[in-house]
Symmetry: C2
Subunit: 543 residues, 2 copies
Amino acid sequence: MARQSYQPKIPVALMGNVHIAEGEATQSVANQEDIKKLFPNTYGMPVLTIEAATGELARVETFNIGIILSGGQAPGGHNVISGLYDGLKKLNPENKLYGFLGGPIGLVEHKYALLTSDTIDEYRNTGGFDIIGSGREKLEKPEQFEKGIEICKQLGIKALIIVGGDDSNTNACVLAEYFLQNKVGIQVIGCPKTIDGDLKNDQIETSFGFDTACKVYSELIGNIQRDANSAKKYWHFIRLMGRSASHIALECALQSQPNICLISEEIEAKNMTLNDIVDRITKVIVARANVGLNFGTVLIPEGLIEFIPAMRRLIEELNDILADNEEFNTLEGDDNKREYLKLKLTPESSDLYRSLPRSIARQLTLDRDPHGNVMVSLIETEKLLIEMVSKKLAQLKASGQYVGKFSTLSHFFGYEGRCALPSNFDADYCYSLGLTATRLIAAGKTGYMAVVRHLTRPASEWVAGGVPITMMMNMEHRNGKMKPVIQKALVDLNGAPFRHLEEHRAEWAEAATCYIYPGPIQYYGPSEVCNQPTKTLQLEHGC
Amino acid sequence: MARQSYQPKIPVALMGNVHIAEGEATQSVANQEDIKKLFPNTYGMPVLTIEAATGELARVETFNIGIILSGGQAPGGHNVISGLYDGLKKLNPENKLYGFLGGPIGLVEHKYALLTSDTIDEYRNTGGFDIIGSGREKLEKPEQFEKGIEICKQLGIKALIIVGGDDSNTNACVLAEYFLQNKVGIQVIGCPKTIDGDLKNDQIETSFGFDTACKVYSELIGNIQRDANSAKKYWHFIRLMGRSASHIALECALQSQPNICLISEEIEAKNMTLNDIVDRITKVIVARANVGLNFGTVLIPEGLIEFIPAMRRLIEELNDILADNEEFNTLEGDDNKREYLKLKLTPESSDLYRSLPRSIARQLTLDRDPHGNVMVSLIETEKLLIEMVSKKLAQLKASGQYVGKFSTLSHFFGYEGRCALPSNFDADYCYSLGLTATRLIAAGKTGYMAVVRHLTRPASEWVAGGVPITMMMNMEHRNGKMKPVIQKALVDLNGAPFRHLEEHRAEWAEAATCYIYPGPIQYYGPSEVCNQPTKTLQLEHGC
């Protein structure tokens, strides 16, 4: 496959001999005392910047490293590994790279593969995590750590690279701290991955995979918009993956300029109800119908439901009421269950529950995860909104306030983008992250996340370095306990990307068409076609 | 947008002066006497081949033409128009191109736009039909024809180009015949369009749009397969657009090598039942589970349901029973309706009806088109199969014959591909079709479809020409009458594309992975990446 021969572009500083510059001592974003107590050995370390140094790249003593992919797939994971591999071999051709299989469990269960050039070459610039697989088990317990130490010693592994989201990187730091406390002599370096785009902060400009996934979804949204504007007869309701934050929906909106894009964070901040949302959508549909445009697009972030304050309260109440509720489970028939819940819910939640379409109300009581919680991601919000908007429009039609036709189609995009072939941006970025990790390891660093910054510049000018993971942490409630975690970044309503949407959305909503049709990701051709970062990054950096 | 500056590749013969070579007199594929009687003026014309001729391209007398887009969108429509425009201006810069708006209705209602270079340049190499819009009205009646003549005379239109599928091209020929019979002096040229790929025969190698749409769907299927093979926990059931024939599903299977691909034509030929299909899928799932592979992909053609003989009988019976059935409509509750149908259906259909999941059974009685027929395309076959396969697996698990896990995700791809940016193939093919049409018009031809052949060769070697539309016709039952229509091409079970699937599918089903991940359509870069025709075309031509 031609794509495999692409040579990723990298920062100049990573090409030869390097000097690692240390900044000032750091502190965590919040709860400094607590975090410091939990991470006495990895707290307060300086931010690192990798600078080009004169002289030949010195061959270092042989060392081996182990790589673990954690959590959901994101385009570019294979390039982190090929960057690691090439960086490692450049430092010393005798160095070895081991991949732990199926995620963190591979370390604990001693399942691994030695990665050779044949394997690496097959996976360069490809999507997916299939080279070694991924998994969702968490590395949290000392027993797990000890099993890990055992296999690392056996394989001569000097450092582990953990590629993951906020949780996995938090765990990477816990592991680094454990190894230091116990003088194990194994380093741990994290790497920022998630298509959701919610692992970002002052130090991390973007997580890898976000760029490619958003471009794939925007290609599809653009195609659908072109269809809508050609056929002129459908409203397309499109739900987009992204567990909690609305970064994906926002970026896709910036790329494709749909008629409507809901942003969960705004809905929460404005304390909007489901009816408010339905009203907002309905207004646009009516306004377009008034000028003869009975078609359009609506982007819906997957996490929406939980950001509607009243819905979240309803869901929390249902979670409480239905936990191990034998009585409810033995009730027969839908109506009896509805009656039962009507009495148990608070009046406000009861009203909301009964206002929902039956199919959605049923979903809220049926699909539950192993912890007994509603599986929000399985709720087809796009269909819920279609049903409620339909009803509202029927009322408006009856009273003569709406004269259009409302035919709809719904879509959900998620699995279409998580394993796409990485864009040049993600291919370059991930490969550079892998190279960066090897330099941090060679310098003996641990408890750091590999970072590459200034990403809106040409790749040669990117700046690589390391950020102490503790610097990004605060304390949060998790399963009833206070835990140190990396702060998840929600969409900043004062940030340039959201402000851009806010400024333009009235125009996008009602104009005959402001649609943009981005087309598929290109790997060859003009740089403005194939090397652009996300609109989010460009707006955040004032490009 | 960079894509607009792409210069489509064209056959050498279309570059300069041409000679139009005439073949032998032709006859229709069947019902020769009937067709000849209906088309006395357009029957039996020779196949035309456009050959390069020496000498300068002579400037012809000024003439204007009108273009009509008919039916569903297909990538490349805008390039047919830009090819027409450029071809027309080359013959005489004074020539004018009019676009009728919103499909055939634009001709009848005299809604049109003069297409200028500014407009054309904006739409070159783009997807969609939004330049002038499309529509599904049929040109069939003399009153419509007369309204058309009126506007053509007014605008000085010498010829109409009708871009459409089998029905629209049939109507183009009816119109050509009418104009000849009435000595109106307006020519009509058809152009083969449909993503479904079912407008093909000995003269037409492929309809435009099929290439791009299949590549978009295959990109997504590939991405999903990479995800399946990385996460290793989901079976993805993917339904693919294509009203009736399974060409799209087959081509996507050839491009992506899924574990299972259903082909409606095979199911019909083998007289398979829904249970047979469920068994076939289940067998593969069990075999993969036995070697620890609890994931996979199943491709399902949209038209499947109607190709299952027993299902088709059930649907026909339901259409009959429910036509204007006031009694049924007043029945309250699901159970009463089921009881009612149980008594009215034949025993075989009644058994089948009751064996269906309730949600599907309900769909069969609810969604009906304006003619009272079940809207088969709205039936979520992928969910029907998931439900039935789940049940079957649960039985096998209970009896110890299945030990795996079965988690599923479903997808439907259609609107994502109909308006995609055309591939280089479709951009070149459509532009060449447009150019070809101008040469046929200049030569005074009518009742022809523009064709371009030898499409697996480089574009410069393609052979352009014209095929008498009557040559592709036979007589078929439509709405209770015998009508002349262009034969629709179903998947040929003896053809090389299906045979390739048949030979390899056992291996694709059970191997750890034979998946291919085609990635997004590329416009730049190596020719083997960006200029390949479909696998179907390649296999049919022995490439």
